[in-house]
Subunit: 289 residues, 2 copies
């Protein structure tokens, strides 16, 4: 199976799991939840399932954790797209929740998606051991909260407000919080599910997360809106410092490629059994959406 | 110790615990977190601590769970006060987060407070047993999410949009989700912490939750803004059906008093050891804020 076939298969399993987990009513909240959880590459869910498989977890079990991280990620997108945040109309090729319904619905959909993530991780279907479930919940909360993803969002807003261009180190820190923390968690969750040492996966995932963000900056400049399914050029339009604006396009691409090499090397202790994770690292710098 | 002295003492302990749990930085996010978690009666936290005490849990331990429910409650207030929701300027006698900072900060503060609630419950300080912690997390997620509190919010918005006055049963259902679910959880959490049967507490807490909401409707009509620390008369101004508009003021008060009696009676199996919880039930219909 090629990487793309495998990614598509995992995305399908995650979608089926999430569809069965969501309320089926017709309130804007309930429709909005289903809308916000449709589509997407499911890269974070893929990382969970493939990392967990490396430690012997069956996809039928790890799909619960994959669904949880995709719900958490979807919450962050719905709130990030709000008019008071990035004010985006388009996401995954569809109108954003506040455009299709209204802002109140988007606030509630994001709120409920975050709750859903923790609810899924609390259930026995996630893992037999309460100790493992509570380890997943605690580590996800630390990655997502005021010292992780939300801190990254706040740092991003503070940089814009200050009107001062960030340095490369500052951007790396900000992005490490905003995007990197959840990507790292996704890979580490596989080790937590397998009750194994997450250290090699952490090195892999940190390099992957940074490569992902550099590739996002490259995509913002070089990409095609129809293919990406979201508004592009927004950082350049806003005059924000990015990896591309600071390094230049070629050096940014080269930096991302080096990070992907680092990510793959970090998996050396796992040998050939980690090839599906190496494929994911290579994918993040080749993607067009 | 009188009930009010006890409530004040518990609120002080919860505040001290939360102050120590919050990031100390100076970003609007970090200041906003501390602002949103200041003040308030801490009724939900009181219920946790007093119910847990009934089953032998020390306040030094149950304060973690009390802090978690207060963080969850504070998240719901910050988001509910947003311009796209209830658009409130005043909360606990202070400007709301989006007024003091901005809407983006209010969205992020609410998001991070929700995460904090689950993070606190995941930590060993909450309870030695991962099984207990994961039971608290799962039940809180169900009470707070798209089939609990957030559903209640969505039902409230849907009723306004439809422009149709709700029936008494519909209001009771809506309020049971919007407010009752978290109040019920607070009392039940005490039993979960004590690894005891939560059934009597559930009956108590459901009656208490409904009495609380009827008393809120009474306060909305009869209260004083300076004492309440929040905008009043807003349901009447919006022409919303409330317990008071449907039952009349006297019958609403009498209904709330009956519910408080029901709540107290539900605690009969616990005898005199549940008097602190009965005091809380009597308090909800006598409060002025």
């Amino acid at each position: 199976m090629s990487f793309h076939e495998r990614l598509t298969a995992r995305a399908g399993a995650i979608q089926a799991f999430l569809d069965a987990s969501l309320p089926q009513g017709d309130l804007p909240l309930e429709q909005g939840l289903r809308h916000a959880l449709s589509g997407g590459k499911r890269l974070r869910g893929y990382l969970v399932i493939e990392a967990a498989a490396r430690f012997g977890s069956a996809p039928e079990q790890s799909v619960v954790t994959a669904g949880a991280i995709e719900a958490l990620h979807a919450y962050s997108l719905v709130h990030d797209d709000l008019p008071c945040m990035d004010d985006d109309d388009l996401r995954r090729g569809q109108p954003t929740v506040h455009v299709k319904w209204d802002e109140a619905t988007a606030v509630l959909v994001g709120d409920a998606l975050q709750t859903l993530a923790f609810e899924l991780l609390s259930e026995p279907a996630c893992h037999d051991s309460p100790k493992v479930r509570v380890a997943l919940i605690g580590s996800l909360a630390r990655a997502a909260g005021a010292e992780g993803m939300v801190l990254g969002q706040a740092q991003d807003i503070a940089a814009e407000t200050a009107g001062r261009a960030l340095t490369l180190d500052e951007i790396a820190e900000l992005q490490g919080n905003k995007t990197g923390a959840l990507i790292s968690w996704s890979a580490e969750a596989g080790a937590i599910l397998g009750e194994a040492d997450p250290a090699p996966l952490r090195v892999y995932a940190r390099a992957l997360g940074l490569a992902f963000q550099i590739a996002d900056d490259v995509l913002d400049v070089e990409g095609d809106t129809a293919t990406a399914g979201k508004r592009l050029q927004k950082d350049a339009d806003a005059g924000k410092a990015t990896f591309v604006s600071l390094l230049g396009l070629d050096a940014a691409k080269s930096r991302a490629a080096d990070l992907v090499d680092d990510a793959c090397t970090a998996l050396d202790p796992y040998g050939a059994t980690a090839e599906n994770l190496r494929d994911a690292a290579r994918f993040v710098i080749s993607r067009t959406s």
